[in-house]
Point group: C2
Chain length 233, copies 2
Amino acid sequence: MKAYALLGGPKELWPQNLPFVLTEAKRQGQLIVGVDRGLLYLSELGVRADLGVGDFDSLKPAELADLELKISDMRYSNPVKDLTDSELMARIVLRDYAADQLLVFGATGGRLDHFLVNLWQLLSPAVLPYAPRVKLIDRQNEIEFFLPGKHQIKAKAHYSYFGVASLMAVDNLSITGARYQLHHFSAAYPRVFSSNEFLAGKPFCHLSFARGVVAVILAKDLKRFDNVTPKEN
Amino acid sequence: MKAYALLGGPKELWPQNLPFVLTEAKRQGQLIVGVDRGLLYLSELGVRADLGVGDFDSLKPAELADLELKISDMRYSNPVKDLTDSELMARIVLRDYAADQLLVFGATGGRLDHFLVNLWQLLSPAVLPYAPRVKLIDRQNEIEFFLPGKHQIKAKAHYSYFGVASLMAVDNLSITGARYQLHHFSAAYPRVFSSNEFLAGKPFCHLSFARGVVAVILAKDLKRFDNVTPKEN
């Protein structure tokens, strides 16, 4: 089972086909998850969530009451807590529901304290083992997470660039088979090697490291016609 | 002397008064810096940069040639390099120009490999000692950087929330005098304590830590009338 989670980040950064993707996932019986205001956005899209997670303090009481009637599994977090809403959501979806994959939307943009919560949620020991099953997706970026070892980074249509970001201390980080190579880089602090490119005719390159957590960011520049802000519903 | 740097991030995320701020800074003789496409944006705003930094690969040759005629100090980076464009800019501005403060705009949004470059630029040993002089500013966030020690976090009008982000391994991180307290938190990985608030009538709170680098993010939710995307020039 795949899980699709919608968080409360700005709608302007959603992939343009997100309403279709979520409707189709629901039809196929995949797990639909709303976190905080994302639960309301799902309702507005006409996609009933299977699971709601959050403290829901951004919702009006009437909005929350309405959602509580419709959602079968509601998990409430406490604002003073060990796990953030994102961490709690990832743990429930990946451990309790045992989802094979978790695609997270609405995780970027807006308040940067929120974005960093979403980016770093997987570093918590409670969810770190599940990190390779998670992707954060917005209209210009697709972020995957890797644990130590040897990996392939796969190219994807329309994404011209990729960045390799070591999110914490890293040992022996290497990137080979790409436009810019990196050999045995180690550092005690985070670093990103941005704007790398796949080689012509090679749909993947190689990534390896011995310690740390690495995010690979597939990224694209917006074309002018992509740059139109979608109308508010 | 203060420095104002404009990077190539999406204009939609600029603070709404940025054109005024830059024009006024230029009038006062502060240092105006354009990085990559940000140099073109400054030209479009009618603000002549004193310094241009980057590989400028996002500019057309005619655009670059025109800028080269106007800007007295152009520093060219190499795409295969030790320092990113942001790091190079910070080092030139803070070390060579000895600016007291560096305000960075256009550093957020869009491609997230670019944003992480800008967020993490200050962790490089070449610029880390200067980190407390730097702020990243967009329309919803103002990010400051702190080195180990005891500090005050100052409230600022219109910013309802703040997040405290340890960007790397941290020891003994404490936040006191705020809505949510934190006492002697240590971790080997990055973490953000988001959505904290200043206490009523207290314009500051206290931050301390013994090891690491901490970013404080002053953040605000957008009001509906803030949410209008400014027209492209």
